[in-house]
Structures are given as structure tokens and as C-alpha cells.
């Protein structure tokens, strides 16, 4: 099972980011890390979108991943980044397996609202938790990578390398997943659930697996964000954060795993510059960008590449 062309491109992109990390300023390394972390959560949203479901509550797992890193260091004395990320994934998968039993029974707005409700429940719990810093959250302890401490666990470059490596693994996995029988079945469910059942596939089982995977990678995104930012707070579970992930998913489209990474980078850069240039109306800038995307690129930024390929052929 060799690497496909698109997978080679992903490996090259990851290698390019790693090489560029030696010359780019710290602020850009930090921004890129955040973009990769967000892209992972967005890939979870995309995974669900391909099956016709829109989650407005992916912040739930993003937040669990973030708090797992914070709490692991603070309360359990675990400081290795990979262990902290794994811990977040374990907790997330356990919760997603439980919630998935309920959520995969629902479709359309009911699914969207239920996912939002669960993330807001976590937000409410965290806001009321004085031990976890309430609305202020708390700082993440210094961490190591494979028990190696390159720059005191605070280096923006180290976390960028980690995010790039983890992002590459997830992207390669999802690239295969999208082209597999189960990945294609997700698109089939979106179109025609009846035929899926008459082909002998269980739509609920497929959606359940999809939901749990989406949650797991959402948690990884949250863990990477908290490792990079060095801080966690309840807004990670707030619905507007989940809305941002949906925004980025629409921006990128569902055509390819790379689309989420590109869209996340564009989103964070647009937001950064919009806040800088129009501090009182940056949300309006983001709104206009989304409007333009929906009007001119309804299948997201990735459709620019597929369109060009089609014209070329």
C-alpha cells in the first residue's frame, strides 16, 4: 500500500512547514500551530458534513482536549505532550461513544442543536468550577516532548513541529478514510439512507464511527492549541468557537483533507489582520468573507483547485 499522489503532497507540505519553521518569526510559527490545531477540529466537522450532519458543538471535544492537557499537568503530574494528548483522546472517545449513541439518531437541525447543547453544558460546568479557574481558566504546566525538553516546553517551534507531525498523521489517515468504503458510505448516507441500508450497511454504525473519530481529532486539536497557547479557559467549549470551526469547514469545503488546513490558515490570518485593522468591526469582515465564499465558491476554496484541474483536462 504505497503513498498516493495527494499523500505525497501532504508529506511535502509538512516537510516544507518544518523547514520554514527555522526561518519564520515566532508569531508566525504560533499562528501556523493554531491553524493546524484548528484544522484538525475542522476535519472532524468536515467528516460529519460529508455524512450530511453539521455539528455546532465540536467545541466540546476541543475543550476536553485542551483541559486534558491543563489538568493532566496540574493535577496528575503528567508533563509529556504526547501522553497529555493521548489522555485527552481517551476521555474524548469515552464520552463520544456515549453521546454518539444518542446523537446518531438525529439529523439536520436536531443534530446541530443537540451537539451545541452538549458543548454548552460543558461550558456551564467549567464556568462554575472554581478549582479550574472559572471563566479565567488556568495556565498549562511546562511540558516535554518524549521526555525531551528542547526549550523549556515553551518554544513555539517545538509545538509547531509536534502539530505538523500529528497533523500529517491525521491527514494521511483521513485521506485514506475518505476514499475507503466507510468514507464513501458517509457521502452515500448524505444522499440516500434507504439505499445504504439495502446495500447491507448500517447507517447508524457508520455515523457512530464517524462521530467518534471526529471527536477524537477535535480533542487532539484542542490539546495542541492549549500546548501552544499555554492556557485553557471555558470559551473553548463556547458555541461561537464551534461556529468558527463550521465557518472554516465551509471556507475550505469537503473536497480534500488539505482544504481544512488551507482554510484554517486563511481564517486565522484574516481574523488577525481584521482585528488589527478594524478592531471594532472585524466580525463584519469575517461575515463578508463567508458571504463571498458562499456566493462564489459554494463548495469551498478547494473547488478552485478541482475547477482548474477540470479546465486543464
Amino acid at each position: 500500500m504505497g503513498l498516493q499522489k495527494s499523500e505525497i503532497m501532504l508529506v511535502l507540505a509538512a516537510a516544507a512547514i518544518t523547514l520554514l519553521s527555522f526561518v519564520i518569526p515566532d508569531w508566525l510559527a504560533f499562528t501556523t500551530t493554531l491553524a493546524i490545531a484548528s484544522a484538525l477540529v475542522v476535519l472532524g466537522v468536515v467528516l460529519l458534513m460529508r455524512a450530511g450532519l453539521v455539528s455546532f458543538g465540536q467545541g466540546l471535544y476541543y475543550c476536553i482536549g485542551g483541559y486534558a492537557v491543563g489538568m493532566g499537568g496540574r493535577f496528575l503530574g503528567i508533563n509529556d505532550a504526547l501522553l497529555l494528548i493521548a489522555m485527552g483522546v481517551v476521555v474524548t472517545v469515552a464520552l463520544a461513544m456515549l453521546l454518539g449513541l444518542l446523537l446518531t439518531r438525529y439529523r439536520e437541525i436536531f443534530f446541530a442543536m443537540l451537539t451545541l447543547a452538549f458543548s454548552m453544558i460543558l461550558y456551564g460546568i467549567l464556568v462554575k468550577s472554581q478549582n479550574l479557574g472559572s471563566t479565567d481558566g488556568f495556565g498549562v504546566s511546562d511540558w516535554t516532548l518524549l521526555w525531551f525538553d528542547p526549550d523549556g516546553g515553551k518554544g513555539s517551534k517545538t509545538v509547531l513541529w509536534l502539530a505538523t507531525a500529528v497533523g500529517l498523521v491525521v491527514a494521511l489517515f483521513l485521506n485514506r478514510y475518505f476514499g475507503s468504503a466507510i468514507g464513501l458510505a458517509c457521502e452515500a448516507i448524505r444522499e440516500n439512507e434507504v439505499r445504504v441500508e439495502y446495500m447491507g450497511m448500517s447507517r447508524r454504525q457508520i455515523l457512530y464511527i464517524n462521530y467518534v473519530i471526529a471527536a477524537a481529532i477535535g480533542s487532539i486539536g484542542g490539546s495542541l492549541t492549549s500546548l501552544a497557547a499555554g492556557h485553557v479557559d471555558p470559551t473553548m467549549a463556547y458555541w461561537t468557537i464551534s461556529g468558527e470551526f463550521v465557518f472554516i469547514a465551509l471556507l475550505g469545503g469537503t473536497g480534500h483533507v488539505a482544504a481544512s488546513f488551507i482554510a484554517a490558515m486563511i481564517f486565522i490570518m484574516v481574523r488577525t489582520y481584521a482585528v488589527e485593522l478594524f478592531p471594532n468591526s472585524w466580525q463584519m469582515i469575517l461575515g463578508i468573507v463567508l458571504l463571498l465564499i458562499i456566493l462564489f465558491l459554494p463548495k469551498g476554496i478547494w473547488s478552485l483547485f478541482t475547477r482548474r484541474r477540470r479546465v486543464g483536462s
Binding site: R176, A185, R195
Partner: protein
Amino acid sequence: MTEILRTEGLSRYFGAVVAAEDINVTITEGEIVGVIGSNGAGKTTFINMVTGYLPPSSGTIAFDGSPIKGLGPRKLMRKGLSRSFQIPQLFLELSVLDNLSMALSASESRHLEMLRPVRTPERIAAADEILSQMGITQYRDEMVTAMPQGARKLLDIAIAMLANPRMLLLDEPTSGVSTDEKLTLMDTVMEVVKRRKLTVLFVEHDMEIVQKYVTRVLAFASGMVIKDGPVEEVLNDEKVQELVTGKRRDKDTETHQGDA
């Protein structure tokens, strides 16, 4: 001959509406059975109950000797009972090859693969074979949206056949297909059916097709089977002519006009 499908007292009510009542049918292996009846006679309700789409209000269904009432489409498919639909149920935004590859993947294992590409050389070969048998090879790499209605019908039936069923239920396989194409379509389907030695039960409105392809007819009216037997016997039955084919009414009208 081995019995493959048996229904006893099969009924379905929607509140006060009787969609199907006391349907007792036995079908033996290898039979090609036509189901006729006017709109609302209970034909599709019967097919839907047998294929697990609609739970019966009462009665029993046995497939290959074992009860199947209450089983969902997936379990029925694995038992060897497959169906096509009046309106083809296809994945329009996927290619024809992907539609078939997915059907093949689902028929191979209960657990879907996560990392192996859905298009494997074996599946592509199997898809090419069924496309060739159905005469729709030219659409292999097209999106389903690019196919005409007749080809979509054939693809829908091809997908049903990929599950390697023992019995195939076809709900109006020629509806929405032009008169010229109907016979060609049925010739193609029946050729594949014969090759695969399938038992077939199909709903049809066109009596020319019924006469040409089936060996036995079930005539439905008001949710009940009013006649069950060989084609000529059923089609010449006065009650069937009056309630289903409408020929007797035509004759009466002609007679009255003649009197006048």
C-alpha cells in the same frame, strides 16, 4: 420445487385505511412472478413488507423456511433477499463505478473497511462484469446524474444483484422508461436473472411485459390478492379484467355504444 417465500395473513393498516389484507402467497425457487393491480391496490405495500421497509400489522413472512417478519433490510439482504425501487435509489453525486464498488464492498463483509480504497482491482472487475451484462458500460465513469432514466433503472437493479441474492423483488422496473426502451430493458434484466438463476417477483403495470416475461401472476385489488395463477388464466379472469386491467369495462363500453 423448493419453497422460497411464504406469507400468511399478511396485513398492513394505516389507521382506518387498509393497505394490504390477508395476503397468503407461496413462491417457489426459480419462479418469475408478476404483481399487477391498479394504483393503491397494495402491490408496493406488499413488496415493502416483504423487504423489511414497512412492518406488517399482522401475519407472518418466511424466507427459505425461516421467519423474517421484523427483520430490517440489512439482515434480509444477507439472507438473500434483495430489491430495486420504483424510483431508483442511487447515490447521484458518486460515479457509477463508486456506486457499484460500494455495493460490492458491503456485500463482501459486515464491517466496512476504513483504510483500504473502495475501488480494488477485484471490485472493478466485478463492476465491469455487471455493467457489461446490463449493457451500461458506457456510463462506468460518469456521475449517476449523467445517466438517462432507463440506465438508472438498470444500475439500481445491478446494485440489488451485487448482493448475490436468491430472490429479487423489482418494484416497477419499467416505470418512467419510454415504451421503446421497456422491452429492451426487460430483456437485459431477464437475461441476467436467468444467468444467475434468481427467483423474481416484480410489480408491473404494462400487461405486454407481464405476458412476455412472467410465468405466474398475482393480481391485487383493494389490498388483497384477488387472483393467483398462470398468466393467461389471471389476465382472462373477469374480476381481474374489471378491477385491474380494465379490459372488461372497455368491452362493456363498446357493447353499450354498439347498442346505441
